[in-house]
Amino acid sequence: MATREEELLAPYLQVRSVLGADGTPVGPEPDLTPDQLREIYRWMVFLRVHDQRLLTLQRQGRLGTFAPFSGQEACQVGSAYLLEPKDWIFPTYRDHGAMMVHGLPEVNVIRYFMGDEWGSRAPDGVNVFPISIPIATQLNHAVGCAWASKIKGEDAVAVGYVGDGGTSEGDFHEALNFASVFNVPAIIFVQNNRYAISVPLHRQMKSRSIAQRALAYDIPGVRVDGQDVLAVLSVFREAIDRARSGGGPTLIEALTYRYGPHTTSDDPKRYRSQEELEEWQARDPIERMRRYLVAKGLWTEKEDEDLWNWAREQVAAAVAEAEAMGRPDPAGIFDYVYAELPWHLREQKEKLLAELARRQGEVKRHG
């Protein structure tokens, strides 16, 4: 006999799946065209190549501190693929995959991690908010943004990204509460990759799932296999439809894993075992999708080889473009503090420009 508590929590412990570990369908497949399925796979391969290349660039000293997402590609693509241009995303520092899927050029991402504020400048019409490094804060921004859509009578949806560690922050709970009370078209997307830098999930919470927190806020909460891009897409499709039609917010927890370090400043061997890493790599989201496409007759080995080569070329071209840009205009640090430069910033800007002229060639250049 299940206890009342077990009955209540059961829906939040169930993990939604579409593909088994070998790529065989185990659940209802989402309604997608063959072209869409191939495009989703292409995105994941491109993101993996991008991510590994940026890791290397960081180790070569050509990039600042970098937060890799390899292993989480299904979450990155599955969460952003179905969004429309009018929709918004509010990402963390490990969501530049989703940012690119939603329209941010790859060069922006590279420039951001090189240390150029212009990297955060999304093109006009691309509703990708700059990366939030402060944990979970962006969830309240996403909720406010979605709330504004509702107040204005528009149907744009906002997605706030956060990790498992971020669910311990007050902002996570305030965002869920505001989203619930005002029934706003927001999706709170938790990529539960099991570690907040080194601290494992069981030190973040005693709850059995993150999804179950939705119960407390009386909003839908779902748990999904984060290594299964079609499952992530499916739960997002439901959440987006619900939000757009006035049904309010959804909390989504995706079970995933980052293969690499938290950032390039940390060594995951100190807190995770090689066996655990290999277990997750055996369920790789890209390989799983490849097998699915091949089994459906939508993909060949030759196409695969071409795709990986294409991705390497794309990334190489973007890196070359980013590196050719050099350092941003030094005086630009004063711009955009305010809409108009107040007198004290005008003075400070002139002073820096005079100093640069005086010390021409002497001020150290990097980047």
Binding site: S120, R121, N140, G144, W147, E174, Y336, P342
Partner: protein
Amino acid sequence: MARMTMVQAINDALRVAMRRDPRVVVMGEDVGVNGGVFRATDGLYKEFGPDRVIDTPLAEAGIIGTAIGMAVNGLRPVAEIQFDGFLAPAHEHVVNHLARIRWRSRGRFTAPVVIRIPSFGGIRALEHHSESIEAWYMNNPGLKIVVPSTAYDAKGLLLAAIEDPDPVLFLEPKRLYRAFREEVPEDYYTVPIGKARVAREGRDVSLFTYGAMVHVALEAAEKAAQEGIDVEVIDLRSLMPLDVEAIVASVQKTGRVVVLNEAPRTAGAAAEIIALINDKALLYLEAPVVRVTGFDVPMPYLLNEDLYLPDAERVLEAIREVRSY
């Protein structure tokens, strides 16, 4: 024209702004049905409804965080934080996001949020209800900081703040809310942010201050006049940006300066104004600048509040000191 208290002028400014611009929404704790704990939003809920005058959950980080998201998506939120000390839970949103969204997105996103906060001491309130928080944010680029001292300025500055493309901290001296009634135009007008006001002209000593302390300064100036000292009182009105021209012009005129703020002494607004005088007008000085401030202690509870707050007597002492140097 109508005779209004400062809190009525603020209420009137909000109503005028909401009638002029459908993007303006008011949000905060108790601002809706109850009209705000000081009644600053009285009647707005009835006129504009629950989508534009929003009673929020009791969560300051959530209020400012969601206001940022609203502003980024095209609204003009005016968020009320019920008391000065309660901005602390939202501090992260103010410094890490609100103040730098324009900068870090290179102008792609902006968050023109106004945060209205009943501020400072003098009403014998509970702990954490009487804080001077302006210096926390003067050292944080990207915000504008405004403190009115009259009903006329409160309305005009608030309307300017709501229209301003940058986020504005609007610190309302709560002890002035009902301290006087003044003629205030009922229609729309603005008072520019970044411009000081000469509250009293004088030749001998310049007294720079803002907010409720303007009235303490004026009282001290009247007493000084009886001793033959002609004090010029400059109401700064805006702490970010400061009106450097008005400050320098007055220093050049008098050569003797008192700076007055209610906040604790160390690294307060007064310290910045003195540094500015040092940068821009040192050679006009005929005496060292004296500052009158609160003490470097937590705001005392109500029985000792009066010991903490600078009063006219304390300011007069400083005026005498710079005059006789």
